[in-house]
Subunit: 122 residues, 4 copies
Amino acid sequence: MINIDTRSREPIYLQLEKQIIKLINLGVYDIDSPLPSVRSMACELGVNPNTVAKAYKELEQQQVIYTVVGKGVYVSVNNTDRIKKLAEEQFKAVLTELKSCGLKREEVIEMVNDLWGGDNND
Amino acid sequence: MINIDTRSREPIYLQLEKQIIKLINLGVYDIDSPLPSVRSMACELGVNPNTVAKAYKELEQQQVIYTVVGKGVYVSVNNTDRIKKLAEEQFKAVLTELKSCGLKREEVIEMVNDLWGGDNND
Amino acid sequence: MINIDTRSREPIYLQLEKQIIKLINLGVYDIDSPLPSVRSMACELGVNPNTVAKAYKELEQQQVIYTVVGKGVYVSVNNTDRIKKLAEEQFKAVLTELKSCGLKREEVIEMVNDLWGGDNND
Amino acid sequence: MINIDTRSREPIYLQLEKQIIKLINLGVYDIDSPLPSVRSMACELGVNPNTVAKAYKELEQQQVIYTVVGKGVYVSVNNTDRIKKLAEEQFKAVLTELKSCGLKREEVIEMVNDLWGGDNND
DNA sequence: GTGGTCTAGACCACC
DNA sequence: GTGGTCTAGACCACA
């Protein structure tokens, strides 16, 4: 369910964070349900446990998950759409960039429509 | 004309590259006209010459500029839309991300319109 | 295994690149196997780490190796004949030069035979 | 008659030297006949006079030309085939390189024949 | 003056 | 430990 690209320039722990958040948003991980343990997650992904721990720690600081010592890590309710906001921020930054390069509004909208396909209902 | 944020996470040399490309695209630097020398650019930006040289060398590898040793660095091609394409790629990536998070087409378009202002003519 | 001539006019980092490519072609470094770290290679050769890093980075841009930040540098493809092609190009250039100077075909062939020795089997 | 590529990585003064030697070898410049003055040569090629002077100076050191102060520069008899020897040296170096990469004698000879064309008489 | 190479040494993020 | 970035300062070849 989670794909890590070890060769990518994006740090593994960040890839992990993003994908976990996405899975939570998509409802794959329910609220108050447990996440895989650091060790099993690390083993499954072929990644150093420290890396997984780092991702979990950051997610906890962002109140996306919470830890019950001695039991495990659980999904928290807060910030469920954090990744959406993050993507929106990136989106606005890139948009500003595009505008400053002289791209027109129509061109951007066309690209949006391209991606969303010809259908009007999502 | 060029602004460097030394505190940014983005490497200085990359900031430089982007801004130079943008300036070339905007026509500030014409074809075959010289760029500031490594040393003067470094001095002007308050940056080490090596850092400027690194940016210049990468731009040369991308065939955006060419250097004549002992004389200086010159704009090679006005590949008007290199940076635009780069931004477009980023844009599509972010857009895909947004879509996969459940953002609707209308929300995206609204953001676009927000940024471009209420006027319809650009 | 690698010999650097610090007194040569040819830059150290270029010497390094060539010899690494050759070693890869000869199978000394296998695909996906790690190269010596920047620091260890530098130490071994009595060269500054920056110089080794420069060679590695260029090889990466040529897609000969790939680097995983925080882990190391790895052989990417056994493009067996990259260096061979490079040498061939040089060869043809020199050959053209020789021809334009009036050297005869027989003289060239004689030199070839001289170098390859009197035996006919390689 | 002389072509200088200012963008080339090869120093201009070296390009000059080579081409002058070649012209001498081909008989375009006769023994004891005068070469163009530094200034006129520089002007004709659109090159800095210092650069031409440097080339002339080196050629004089190699006894290819000689200077008569107040009169000009003249072709000397010595070393008329210096460039041929130089090319031969390069040739042998490249040849050695090729051999060490596993190239066979037949392949090399084929390349030679390719370049000299199908005819057998030069 | 120009760019190119190299060194020494620093700090950072990542694993 | 790894590579990545940056600085400061040196020397060189070239124009």
